[in-house]
Symmetry: C2
Subunit: 170 residues, 2 copies
């Protein structure tokens, strides 16, 4: 079970970034995204719509108190993605069979999250995007399984095309 | 030489996504991002600022006419990242020694770009984010070299920390 925890979502400023995070989490085979900050019904609906069309049981849930959420899920190993952390290559193998909560911050993450995380992990030592950090982390965690994965419950499947667009409907 | 071509940037709607794309391109060792759509001085300045602080000669340039740009750079192989394309694993090895223009669209990409690209390449067959697609493509292209890469001209280096934040200044 892999849960992404997105901190401090702001509807106006973060709408597209949080959507890109959730789509990345879903396509890279995480199970769920929970987010704190402002509750955003349009964001939630847009992800559910993608599930209905392209398959998967990927879940999205708003939570008020991320620290309480972490404390209530003690069987999970807590990973925090930050460019200040330790190179992802050093830890990713030992995380492959764990239940994970993967914390993905925004611009400012409170110091407490660095402390309570079992692993602060970096994807490059550069300022990048939480979207690309999450993609790389999940790619390494899943051994690239996402690249040709198909969701069994899809109504629409995207087919590989050399030029143009091709889909199949079920 | 790897140039990212971002189509149709809109200042209001795409500001953060295009910034995340450029930061990802820089950290994953592309050489340059060119973008069309609306010219955005604040976006350009923010990337130059990151270079000044964290190093790299990563370049950013506005272009009016992306098709003309492609026609003028005939020695480049054109790659278009799209979920409708062919699995990245099939082509990435043969692209490792090429000069590349990597086209990264927004929501709508005109059909001409599917036609003029030498390779339409997908990173998963799901709707994801252009940011995560670009990160994965460059990661595979560079054999993961970005994960512990250091820019020699950095004034500030981020150091690996188990908890908290640590930097070195030069």
């Amino acid at each position: 079970m892999i849960i992404i925890l997105r901190l401090n979502h702001r509807i106006f400023r973060d709408k597209r970034i949080t959507t890109h995070l959730a789509l990345t989490a879903r396509a890279f085979l995480a199970d769920k995204i929970v987010y704190s900050g402002e509750k955003d019904n349009n964001f939630e609906k847009s992800i559910i719509k993608v599930n209905e069309r392209f398959g998967s049981k990927f879940d999205v849930e708003y939570i008020k108190d991320p620290l309480k959420f972490i404390h209530e899920n003690k069987k999970f190993t807590i990973v925090h993605l930050t460019c200040y952390g330790i190179n992802v290559n050093k830890f990713v193998n030992k995380l492959k069979n764990e239940n994970l909560i993967v914390i993905v911050g925004g611009e400012k993450v409170e110091p407490i999250y660095y402390k309570i995380s079992n692993y602060n992990i970096s994807v490059t030592k550069q300022p990048i995007s939480e979207v690309s950090a999450l993609a790389l982390f999940l790619h390494l965690l899943k051994n690239g399984k996402e690249l040709d994965y198909e969701f069994k419950d899809a109504k629409v499947k995207i087919l590989e095309s050399e030029k143009g667009k091709s889909i199949a409907k079920f």
